[in-house]
Amino acid sequence: MAAPDFNFLLATDSYKITHYKQYPPNVNRVYSYFECRRRKDAQFNEVVFFGLQYLLKKYLTGPVITEEKIQEAKVFYQLHFKQAVFDEEGWRQVLEKHDGRLPIRIKAVPEGKIIPRGNVLFTVENTDPDFFWLTNYIETMLVQMWYPITVATISREFKKILAKHLKATSGSLEGLDFKLHDFGYRGVSSQESAALGGAAHLVNFCSTDTVAGLLMAQRYYSCPMAGFSIPAAEHSTIISWGRSREKEAFERLLDQFPSGPVSVVSDSYDIFKACKYIWGDKLKERVMERSEDSALVIRPDSGDPAETLIEVIKILEECFGSSLNSVGYKVLPSYLRIIQGDGIDLNDEGWSAENVFFGCGSALLQKLNRDTLHCAFKCSYVESNGKGMDVYKQPVTDPSKGSKRGRLSLRRNSDGFIETVERGVGKPEEDLLVTVFENGTILQEYSLDDIRKNCICTHGLVPHENESD
């Protein structure tokens, strides 16, 4: 549930307060849908559907309207618009007729499903004819679905790339789930975004420092512990020793964390010298006595990511040697690994992807927006006097902004491809959309385990290769 002082009536774009006056007379149903529009130049062709359950549980379930909230909204909007335009009576009806629960139905793709761009992902309609204006009132909140969808999608795209390289350079996918670590906590815009983005990353990986994401997964997706981390240094714990005592700082890390992996940021002054003279010489024996389960993970954190990574790995090879794995790629000794802060593009210089972990910060959780996947919510069908009409926009100035028409359903066609059926002609038994929310109650829930199964990433994944429906 949202915080007690969260007022649902204040959680929308201001202009939507005025829309109840703008629909045609006698409208009694407004039906809208959400999609990640398809674009010719699109970088990503399929999306992971994730995050609706969070929104439903936190903001939309149960009695979200109270008289107090109506009064607060009324006073506020009077000042904000400098006139009385708020639909006090309409909201009081929600309170009186429905106990403050929203008379809305939402049908959605199961969470975790991979769906090609340009398909309906969820639909929203009012269940009581008096509340046609409610469907698009909640657009603002529901369109924020763009965020968990986009994080989960990008995270999965990274996973596909990593899977490909790992398979090619090591012969297996072992450890894939730990290959991309979420470092994004400080670089997102708020605690709530950290939690939601962090959880979306955990759909694909198990490695994170964004603790809020773990709690989100626990509370909203029934997963007691969705991700793991290791002790790690930051610059302050190295530089606080003083420039001439970097070795002592490093040694302290090894002493404090003798068992289990430990990550040590090594670029405070000179990453290359640190690798060659401290790790590779002064502390070499200490490094070598560590086991495979308690590897030293060296972290560069500046310079060109690809170049730095290659130079570091070469220096480490000189100092510690390497061996060839079963597919002919070089691997550092098992007590030594590298974590690279960014730059996913692995180089083909004969090194196995087993050597490196990646950490991703704002590229994973912040450097995205609603245009990354062209997420949009549009009205496609209305009923007036019981008569239905398919509606749409089709701006001559941008055909890609055209919207779908009529009631929608999602199905797998005879070739196995997922497609959207418009104009209400879809067969209910084929519809992949599931009613997840109705009249204030959640009807279908998904756990993170379910979601992870739905979007399993195997090497060589093709868009429709999704077993579990």
Partner: protein
Amino acid sequence: MCSSQLFARVFFFFFFFSQLVLCVTEDGWTLGPGLVTHYKQYPPNTSKVYSYFECREKKTDSTKTRKVKYNKTVFYGLQYILQKYLTGKVITPQKIQEAKEVYREHFQDDVFNEKGWNYILEKYNGHLPIEIKAVPEGSVIPRGNVLFTVESTDPECYWLTNWVETILVQIWYPITVATNSREQKKILAKYLMETSGNLEGLEYKLHDFGYRGVSSQETAGIGASAHLVNFKGTDTVAGIGVIKKYYGTKDPVPGFSVPAAEHSTITAWGKDHEKDAFEHIIKQFPSVPVSIVSDSYDIYNACEKIWGEDLRGLIEARSADAPLVVRPDSGNPLDTVLKVLEILGKKFTPQENSKGYKVLPPYIRVIQGDGVDINTLQEIVEGMKEHRWSIENISFGSGGALLQKLTRDLLNCSFKCSYVVTNGLGVNVFKDPVADPNKRSKKGRLSLHRTQSGDFVTLEEGKGDLEEYGQDLLHTVFQNGKIVKMYTFDEVRDNARLKEFEVEELLH
């Protein structure tokens, strides 16, 4: 393993967990696990860790294509973070226990500093023994200067300074929104002044459309409030709540809006009834400005035939206080704006103002709310000026670019340790990575001053104590769990206002 017992146990933790350390939202606590282990990593006998925050200068910029420089930043948002996450009793026995359990699972090891947190609980009743000194909120400060400092006030709690880093670094967001919004205000001020001779209505020229395009409700509140430091028009209602709760204004509300259509309220009438939709809506709002999105099918036809002919009489009857505001929403922003102005200009004869630029009659205006970012804004106002259209004719809406399309890297926001006390001796510390001189950090205890010529300077290594530059502009705002200095939103706005000399600079 998800046995029902384990699940119940964890769920039970979670319930109490929801108000753990350093986060008072009902959603739980918020600390990076890496930080959990840092208390073990500092040198032995460390009794103080002192860190600072800046928007680093980028002297060697590889991205030379960046047109906007962002030489100065608006400092804003600390008060929100302090009140929401750091003030008062943030530690309790249950929270410590629960954190211990969760971190044990998360690390598969016992690394949590239970002793350290119990000490804080007992000695300080769960209040955080740290001191934060900061520049006044709303201050506009050149890049590369210290904006706030954080230090532990108890020798046992030296590790606390960087524990709070993750939470405090999120200040990058309100700083960046406010800064980017202010830079856009400068662009608008320049062109408005040049094409009309005054700055009337400047504060309503850039309207926040970003609520749906941010990553969460909380972000919406913070970001929208940051935009309102510079402007007064917003549809992101959440921002107003943040200002009211965490800053306060003397006026009842700090932001305003007008009735406006969206596509569904037009398309619901059906393709052949766009005119009926338009007519109905403007009649619903006769005496306030009303914005009507007009591109559902064909923006140019809508302007020429529907607004320009069929409904012309209704529009001409509207007063200057209640214009129709035509809203295109697709196509190339500059091209569309120019073509819309041209068509409307043919149907509603413009006047020439005192600067020689065309102004549509006061009952009709345009708002461009699609694809607007700081670069396209500049293009549009420049293009309008070239075609002799005054900026009085137009206002802008911005969503994703205003509130979401920003990262910590835009202003290089960074939090770094600069001074520690070990074995009773103060040591200036810093990082200086060989591969990136831009990432070098400042040394020692810092202070911010104004030089005689009015510039800002950050003194390092405790040199501020010499008093050569007068007073330190950093004030203590937080001490040992209490906020000791607060700013109203009015003060923030005043500190961030466009100064006369800035406007003059823009015009030359």
